[in-house]
Subunit: 138 residues, 4 copies
């Protein structure tokens, strides 16, 4: 059991969401935020930047959105499910579109390939939370 | 003309959105993020915190979401309108619900009254951008 | 009196720092964070990006550091002056170096000229707070 | 080898810092940021909040500072060592003081005990980077 799981279990308020589904999503969002930050910077370090401008831009948006979403999900006091659902949907859109853009460069740039994987994983955990958990709690 | 307007005008890419509507929304989002950060901290400094827990939580979410939304709006390279629309909708929801919560405490706490105003103003500029601008550009 | 000043005055805890010096610094840090975010994106939109890579990188660091510093300064409960002083020093270094880099491009790029002004203003308010206020409170 | 290590290795620019020392610090900073976010929220959910106000405040500062520091460390283009050193020092101070505060509540609150561990680990990796790596590169 890692530190995040332990501290969530030690929180005096518990979520109505399934703990494992929530933790998977939180971990995937925080990881996607970090990986997108690196991918934007790695694109910026390439010799031919022009074809990567859209990738950098989506990486930056996705990094910010995933960080905000991850922080919201670990706050367990008085959740407002309308805000959470809406932010999860925005995060799903960001991961989906950023993943699509990275896919275009995955054969040429290993960092885009790794970022594509992080985006797809985050998108999957977000959709799982939206479909299986937020129906029940709201 | 303030510094933000000047630097946006000096950007080599220009937005398809109406400049004034976009600037109004950016300024309102960044201000709402700051005011919510202060309101959360002011609530935490009150003698009777328990009735303010939901307010603190929504302030924190709204502060993070508004900051992320403001940063996205000032990036003018290769915008993805699906992501932007979705994030503007999440931000609208956050400002609406946070404003509603602050309204409950506005008579007792001046900081909640000021935060209510910032939330309502941000919500109005976000809705304006969603209705009048994002129809056209996407 | 703007909204930030009003809500700071409505906070149940008051700072030991001079209110105007603190507000000037908060406003300058938040503005510098926004202007640096735009400058990084504007540099990325230029035809010749290679000479601007260092500028983009310092813009990104300075934007993150200024946002964090601004958020810390508006929290008035239980300040820890050792942390605050240290973060103000890091922010001063970031504004100084980012301003120097923007100065190199200010004649060619108007956005770098505007960013230079924002960095210098933030640096001046940070130094003022460090010299005149943090001596007294710590 | 995890995703962060893989994408850092795929970056076209490589750091002058020892890779493992840098990764350890990045991972510890991002984890500390998350754990502090949860600890602040967990403290807010406790029945007796008043003794925890300082803990919440330091958790919030430490979460913001660690996130900013982690993001800076994974940017490998054109590092400015004066800014990085100064931000690492601010982060060390934040982790140290936040850890000390959590230590006071560690026997009563499991979440503070876990947060104390995360702060101490981050502090150790930051000091290691400052002492063994930043002497060499600057």
């Amino acid at each position: 059991m890692d530190r995040l799981e332990k501290i969530i279990k030690a929180h005096p308020r518990q979520s109505n969401m399934d703990l494992q589904a929530m933790l998977d999503c939180v971990n995937a969002c925080f990881e996607c935020s970090q990986i997108c930050t690196v991918c934007a910077d790695a694109c910026l370090g390439e010799e031919h930047i022009q074809p990567l401008i859209r990738c950098i831009r989506l990486n930056q948006d996705c990094a910010d959105i995933c960080a905000t979403t991850g922080r919201m999900l670990v706050r367990l006091n008085c959740p407002d499910w309308a805000i959470i659902r809406s932010q999860l949907q925005a995060c799903t859109a960001a991961c989906h579109k950023c993943g699509n853009e990275c896919e275009l460069h995955a054969q040429m740039h290993e960092h885009c390939k790794i970022c594509l994987e992080a985006c797809r994983e985050a998108e999957a955990t977000l959709k799982d939370l939206l479909v299986t958990q937020l129906e029940a709690v709201s």
